[in-house]
């Protein structure tokens, strides 16, 4: 109930304000209704400029979109782009396959090395070194 009466009071106050401000609103309406011809023509010019400028903006946006679409659906682009993509993929795959895992030296695989034999360990070291040399020579 309190809130209702509060709103009623606010409405009454607003109504009283509106009534008391009627002369000012009438003055404003009168002023708008009696704008000079030059002002009216200026306002009309401003409106026309605003509308034409926005139309130009819309047109330029449309033309940009249209140009992009035309470019995308151009036959040379529609063939050239997939071909170029295929070439790039093929080259990258081939380049990746060149990177092979270094092979183990054959000599090292063939020989069974007893852990306790120092001489054999020395041979193993030599064979490893030899294999490394071979690999570097290959590269």
């Amino acid at each position: 109930m309190k809130s209702t009466s509060k709103y009623e009071n606010e409405d009454k106050i607003n109504d009283a304000h509106n009534e008391s401000m009627q002369p000012i609103n009438e003055a404003l309406d009168h002023s708008v209704a009696h704008l000079s011809k030059s002002t009216l023509s200026d306002i009309a010019r401003v409106r026309a400029t605003a509308l034409s400028q926005s139309n130009t903006q819309t047109k330029s946006m449309k033309s940009v979109v249209e140009r992009c679409l035309t470019w995308l659906f151009n036959p040379s682009i529609s063939i050239g782009v997939p071909v170029a993509a295929a070439v790039i993929i093929a080259v990258s795959v081939k380049y990746a396959s060149v990177k092979t895992i270094p092979e183990l030296p054959l000599a090292m695989m063939a020989i069974e090395v007893p852990n306790e034999d120092f001489a054999m360990l020395e041979d193993l070291e030599f064979v490893t070194w030899l294999a490394e040399n071979e690999q570097s020579a290959l590269l």
């Binding site: 304000h17 509106n18 009534e19 008391s20 401000m21 002369p23 000012i24 609103n25 009438e26 003055a27 404003l28 009168h30 002023s31 708008v32 009696h34 704008l35 000079s36 002002t39 009216l40 200026d42 306002i43 401003v46 409106r47 400029t49 605003a50 509308l51 400028q53 926005s54 903006q57 819309t58």
Partner: protein, 173 residues
């Protein structure tokens, strides 16, 4: 959209002219607001155009006031020769009217002068609430302030206007 602009342009021009006190600046603000509304909000439902347009216009007016403040600080020795608004030719038109209408039109001119004496916020608030008939919520949204502030601005504007009018014409409301 064009019909909407035709419908609203005179009132909007009036608001801008009241806020700036200059015909040329009011036209600039009006044009900027129209361009922004047409280019950015044309697709919105037409019932939203009015509050949107006034919001854009009020933002432009606020920016204008900020620029003026900075400009006055930087170039304090310069005094601009601003074209007076409302233009004097309005008064000339009213001279042809009969005496009773002349008195009324003089009162109306005085009312406009009183309106110009309000602070920019009070002016905006009064014009939107009383003249345009927008709600408190809509006015608060346009002015980017709380509804309480709108009520305060409006109350102060009305009180000041009433006092000024009572002083001038001895009108008791």
């Amino acid at each position: 959209m064009e019909a909407f602009l035709i419908d609203i342009e005179k009132r909007a021009y009036h608001m801008a002219a009241f806020a700036t006190g200059s015909h040329a600046d009011a036209l600039d603000l009006l044009q900027d607001s129209m361009i922004k509304l047409v280019s950015n909000y044309q697709e919105k439902p037409s019932k939203e155009w009015k509050p949107l347009f006034y919001k854009i216009l009020q933002n432009r007016i606020r920016d204008w006031h900020r620029h003026q403040k900075v400009r006055n600080l930087l170039f304090f020795w310069k005094t601009d020769e601003v074209e007076a608004w409302p233009p004097a030719e309005n008064e000339g038109n009213n001279l042809d009217t009969p005496e009773g209408r002349l008195k009324k039109s003089q009162q109306q001119d005085a009312a406009l002068v009183h309106l110009k004496q309000l602070s920019p916020k009070q002016q905006q608030c009064f014009l939107l609430r009383s003249w345009e008939g927008l709600s408190v919520a809509e006015t608060a949204d346009i002015m980017e302030c709380s509804q309480g502030s709108v009520k305060t601005h409006y109350f102060r504007a009305v009180s000041k206007l009433r006092a000024l009018m009572e002083d001038d014409h001895e009108i008791n409301f």
